[in-house]
């Protein structure tokens, strides 16, 4: 697919193409996200890029009122919480993501439950004077 090196920068650069990319060990089949240079299971060093389908389920989450500065800068506050979640991708691995939905979806705890099916939604974060940044998010499937 590509011979890009398995680095954290290349992992994030794929977000700009709308892709969540990990890698797969050609020896034992273990899938990693982000990609690893050394297979975490068998120490194999022959790995290939792997694109995730984008579907998963919410494993756990929190609606965060007192958030990170990065989220305060996006307009979130104790009156407007955001949802941090841990998602199990249908291919197996877990990843953290900002869980979003239409309108004020995040401000209603009833919209969230463990096991909620979700799909990837890449989020464009605009910061004044900077290039837009793409973050990994999920929305209800």
């Amino acid at each position: 697919m590509t011979d890009k090196e398995f680095t954290i920068k290349n992992y994030f650069d794929f977000f700009n193409e709308g892709k969540l990319m990990g890698n797969k060990c050609t020896k034992c089949g273990t899938i990693h996200v982000p990609p690893k240079k050394l297979c975490n299971k068998c120490y194999g060093t022959e790995l290939e890029w792997f694109e995730f389908g984008g579907k998963g389920t919410l494993q756990s989450y929190s609606l965060i009122g007192v958030g990170a500065r990065y989220f305060a800068n996006q307009g979130y506050s104790i009156k407007k919480p955001y949802c941090f979640g841990v998602v199990k991708l249908e291919e197996g691995p877990h990843i953290s993501g900002h869980i979003v939905g239409p309108d004020d979806f995040e401000q209603h705890p009833d919209n969230f439950k463990v096991g909620l099916p979700v799909k990837i939604k890449f989020l464009t974060i605009e910061t004044e004077g900077k290039e837009p940044k793409i973050d990994l998010g999920f929305e209800p499937a």
Binding site: I8, P34, Q59, S60, Y61, S62, L63, I64, G65, V66, G67, A68, R69, Y70, F71, A72, I78, P81, Y82, C83, F84, G85, V86, V87, H94, I95, S96, G97, H98, P109, V114, D135, L136
Partner: protein, 420 residues
């Protein structure tokens, strides 16, 4: 394998008052308060300059909090031990628990007879949002932070999973907080020395003073479920979270051969265990238990030859109320899901069958992150000698105790077992 090569004694232990001290007191001032307190705790006195052979200093992030990075030689200078070696140890909120472990290992190895270990952190120099962001640097800043992770948020994620899997309730969490406020009210070194009832009464009085209708709270639970206790990270509210604190703590360790010079009543550290887990919470199979802490506890128990049921009191890492429940289950005091009901039944109160966090815990004693691990050992030192201040000394002779200190959302954990 897995045994200490020789016995290690805690012969002195002390701490500064914990609180919001900046700018009146800063890292170096708090450290000296802890040093004085430790020197005074040594029965037959100690000359640190003559006796101490190395210093291990726990500190999470003076770099981010105070623009100070190379703290160990400064603290060694203030202890008067130059040119002896000194090193700063960083392991997030378990920094000084790990410093204690390295001190124990250094004495057990035979390379040193007397080691000073300590911890210091001054967190209130920066605004709260920067405290939150600096602490978040102990999580995976590349993968978790852009998703919105904060420490309250990560532990809230643990709480959501614990509630889902085990039926843990907000009442169980409130009962952890209520107990730790009761204990902190008896600790003159604690940052907050009021019970929840006193906090609630003060809020009612304030509203009345303003000539407004006071809230109709019939119990602490009504107050804790009200808007006066807002969600920081749902399901964790303000009173589920530990404090932002400045403080220092210090422990003097000695080999068996040398310990008797200092005291007739040493406290032996008979087990030390440390464990690691994935930095990111999401990389784990379970979000309701920390593998690092289970491994640390198993290792420490195996080394000491004791079992969870042998422990009479423990100081555990309650950076959030849910963390105390996870700790009680990871150490093996309770089976998964049973800690919440046990706390609500009063089993972990000072007069219960297993007093937990008699100091008030991180919840009310305060949580100057790099000093927390050694401050836990200070409480054990006092309880085992029967000298805990005010009314918080437990009513039985404590012969076996434990401390449990966690860094990050469980990526590092360290457990120590103490015997008389």
């Amino acid at each position: 394998m897995g045994k200490l090569a020789r016995k290690v004694a805690m012969v002195g232990a002390g701490m500064s008052k914990f609180g919001a001290h900046f700018p009146i007191k800063q890292n170096r001032d708090l450290w000296q308060d802890a040093l004085i307190s430790t020197i005074n705790s040594v029965d037959n006195g100690v000359d640190l300059s003559k006796d101490v052979e190395e210093l291990y200093l726990g500190n999470f992030s003076a770099d981010l909090f105070n623009h100070e990075a190379h703290l160990a030689p400064l603290m060694a200078q203030l202890a008067g031990i130059l040119p002896k070696p000194a090193a700063r140890i960083e392991a997030a909120c378990s920094s000084s628990g790990i410093a204690l472990r390295y001190g124990v290992l250094a004495v057990a190895s035979g390379i040193h007879d007397v080691v000073l270990v300590g911890g210091v952190e001054t967190m209130t120099e920066v605004p709260t949002v920067d405290v939150t962001d600096s602490l978040a640097a102990a999580a995976d800043t590349r993968l978790e932070y852009p998703a919105g992770a904060t420490f309250p948020g990560l532990y809230a994620t643990v709480a959501t999973a614990h509630m889902h899997k085990h039926g843990t309730t907000d009442q169980h969490l409130f009962d952890v907080a209520i107990k730790n406020y009761e204990n902190g009210a008896e600790n003159p070194f604690a940052q907050v020395q009021n019970t929840i009832e006193q906090v609630m009464a003060a809020k009612i009085a304030k509203v009345k003073d303003q000539g407004k209708e006071p809230p109709a709270w019939n119990s602490p639970y009504d107050f804790l479920r009200s808007s006066s206790n807002p969600f920081i990270a749902n399901p964790l509210r303000l009173f589920d979270c530990s404090l932002v604190t400045d403080g220092a703590a210090c422990i003097l360790l000695a080999s068996e051969e040398v310990a008797k010079k200092y005291t007739d009543t040493p406290i032996w550290i008979t087990g030390t265990g440390q464990g690691s887990d994935t930095l990111s919470l999401h990389d784990r199979d379970s979000f309701t238990s920390f593998r690092s802490a289970r491994y640390a506890a198993e290792t420490a128990f195996k080394m000491s030859g004791l079992k969870p049921k042998d422990i009479q009191i423990a100081e555990v890492h309650d950076c959030f109320t849910i963390a105390e429940l996870v700790a009680l289950e990871d150490i093996g005091f309770y089976r998964p899901g049973e800690a919440g009901p046990a706390v609500s039944a009063g089993e972990t109160k000072r007069d219960g069958k297993l007093p937990i966090n008699t100091s008030g815990g991180l919840k009310t004693k305060g949580h100057p992150v790099g000093a927390t691990g050694t401050a836990q050992a200070v409480e054990v030192f006092k309880q085992m000698r029967g000298i805990a201040e005010r009314n918080r000394q437990v009513k039985f002779d404590v012969e076996r105790a434990l401390t449990h200190n966690v860094g990050g959302s469980g990526a590092t954990a360290v457990v120590h077992v103490y015997e008389k």
